[in-house]
């Protein structure tokens, strides 16, 4: 791997209580992600893709093993420290966009910067840049309800990218989009990945997304069954 490692997962297992027993969602996972990667976790529903993304995003913790993100062990982080990690270094894109309905496009994108206590002028510049990346400067005063699915997801990308995170986690970002919109947002994300050196990790089972990935990690029943880099696969 050519990239400097920013995510390291070692012998990580995640179990969830189910009734009186337990369900193992991830089983002895070992993975490394480097800076500027454009990788995807693929696999059927229930294979553990979203659980892995949640742990990388410090929204959840491993049951066993370690997950180190930006040099911080997720298991040992306090609520405050994990919130700070997300606030400063991690962006999220969700399948259903999760835009805040009472805010305009501009305010939705600005929200992440408000949490970083950036100045108003700094926020304005950064938001306008982010909206320009995704081609939505003309929609900045619209509310989410007035946007199409593709536009909504582009706002979500802008919101995730506006703080220039080191890691961007996208959970089924194209699931609610048609083919044209899917390609458009993936091209946008690929361009941002190149321009900003942000590490993108997708969770997907969409073939359209897989076309764009540089690295495909296949999960099945909570285990990594293959980890292939596109360049290596081409050889």
């Amino acid at each position: 791997m050519n990239h400097a490692s920013i995510i390291s997962i070692q012998h990580m297992t995640k179990r969830f209580p189910v009734g009186k027993g337990e369900f193992t969602a991830l089983n002895d996972i070992n993975l490394e992600f480097g800076e500027g990667e454009f990788a995807g976790l693929v696999g059927p529903s229930g294979s553990g893709k979203t659980t892995l993304l949640n742990i990388i995003g410090s929204l959840d913790t491993p049951s066993e093993g370690t997950a180190t993100v930006m040099g911080q062990d997720i298991s040992t982080l306090s609520h405050k420290a994990s919130a700070l990690l997300r606030n400063q270094h991690i962006g999220f894109i969700f399948q259903s966009y999760n835009l805040l309905p009472v805010y305009t496009v501009f305010e939705n994108v600005e929200f992440a910067l408000l949490l970083q206590n950036r100045s108003a002028s700094e926020r304005k510049k950064a938001v306008l840049d982010a909206l320009e990346w995704v081609g939505l400067t003309d929609k900045m005063t619209s509310k989410p309800a007035m946007l199409s699915g593709g536009e909504g997801q582009r706002v979500a990308i802008a919101r995730a990218m506006v703080k220039r995170p080191k890691i961007l986690l996208a959970d089924e970002p194209s699931a609610n989009l048609d083919a044209q919109n899917s390609h458009q947002i993936l091209k946008t994300m690929k361009a941002l990945n190149r321009e900003l050196k942000t590490t993108f990790i997708f969770s997907t089972h969409d073939e359209k997304v897989m076309q764009y990935l540089d690295r495909i990690i296949s999960l099945e029943d909570g285990k990594v069954v293959s980890d292939v880099e596109k360049a290596a696969a081409a050889l």
């Binding site: 919130a83 700070l84 997300r86 606030n87 999220f92 999760n98 305010e107 992440a112 408000l114 949490l115």
Partner: protein
Amino acid sequence: MLSFKIAVKNLIGAGLKTWLNVFVLSLSFVMIIFYNSMIDGWNKQAETDTIAWEIGQGQIWEKDYDPYDPYSLIDAHAVIPPELKNQATKGDVVPILITQASVYPQGRMQNILLKGIPTDQQLLDLPTAELSDEGETTPAIIGRRMSEATKLKQGDRVLLRWRDKNGTFDAQEILITKVFENNVPSIDAGQVWIPLASLQEMTGMTDEATLLVVGDDYQPVADANWEFKSIGFLLADMRAIIETKKGSAAIMYLLLLGIALLAIFDTQVLSIFRRQKEIGTYVALGMTRGQVVKLFTIEGGAHSLFAAALGALYGIPLFIYLNKVGIPMPAGTDSAGLPISSEIIPVYGLGLVVGTILLVVLSATIVSYMPARKIARMKPTEALKGKIQ
């Protein structure tokens, strides 16, 4: 400040639901201030009138006098000490002699308190100058309530029967020279005022009095037979009754406040249930759970600030209007014996307004915090899926 900004934005974004809650809560604000200002106004008017008509700057009681025991009147009289008599001559104190008696308006007997007061006194608002015209018949003044109860009018003559200091009955006619309007039942109902000199002569209690009302220039006199009673002491019962009234009025507005708070609580519970994804998104964007709890608490609490603003919008003109015209009291309100005028001018104190705002803001914040605590126990991954039941 950030949480407040976001909370206000969310509240405004919630639209009609917010404004309905805010309207009900604003009614609580206005009602609390209205009721309390009315009772404070009543209290102030009652105290002012009682001081002006009955108690002055305090009273000096003959040691046996007990206003709640009419039988004490038999013994509750004594010669006015010379120092007090001097002050009475200057008008700094007003001696009053009280005895039990009966009048016979239209042939029916009615027990009364017969009170003697100097005709030239200026300390109390009682129109005692009307007693100075002494013809053959002893002049008497009565209040409106006594007039209504006995059907006695100005110019009427009525038979008065009393006992002198030796217990011997005597009787004579008195002439009603004035029926005076007043707001103080305790100087009116069941009472007849005649000149002090006449009563002293009728009862054989020369130079005696039951109590003395003191004015601003009164010089304290130490005498074992006479006890000074301060304004605070003399108003204590009335204040206690008005406080009780305040308490019963509180039930009404606390009920309204309770409904408004229940609406906020309900909105918060629903809001937290419906907005799970939003809560998850806040956490994913980097807010701590504590910050999200704070945000939802402020959102609920901010209802009360909006309500204060809305309440001020229609409440201030209403209060200014009421302050100008007064709050009319229905006839017979004062029959319970408390001083009350036909209209009360409400009193809006800073303490009342600030206290009301604090009460409503604090209670709205508490009811908002209670359901918001649930957020702290939410798993963000479940919240993002909107799966929490």
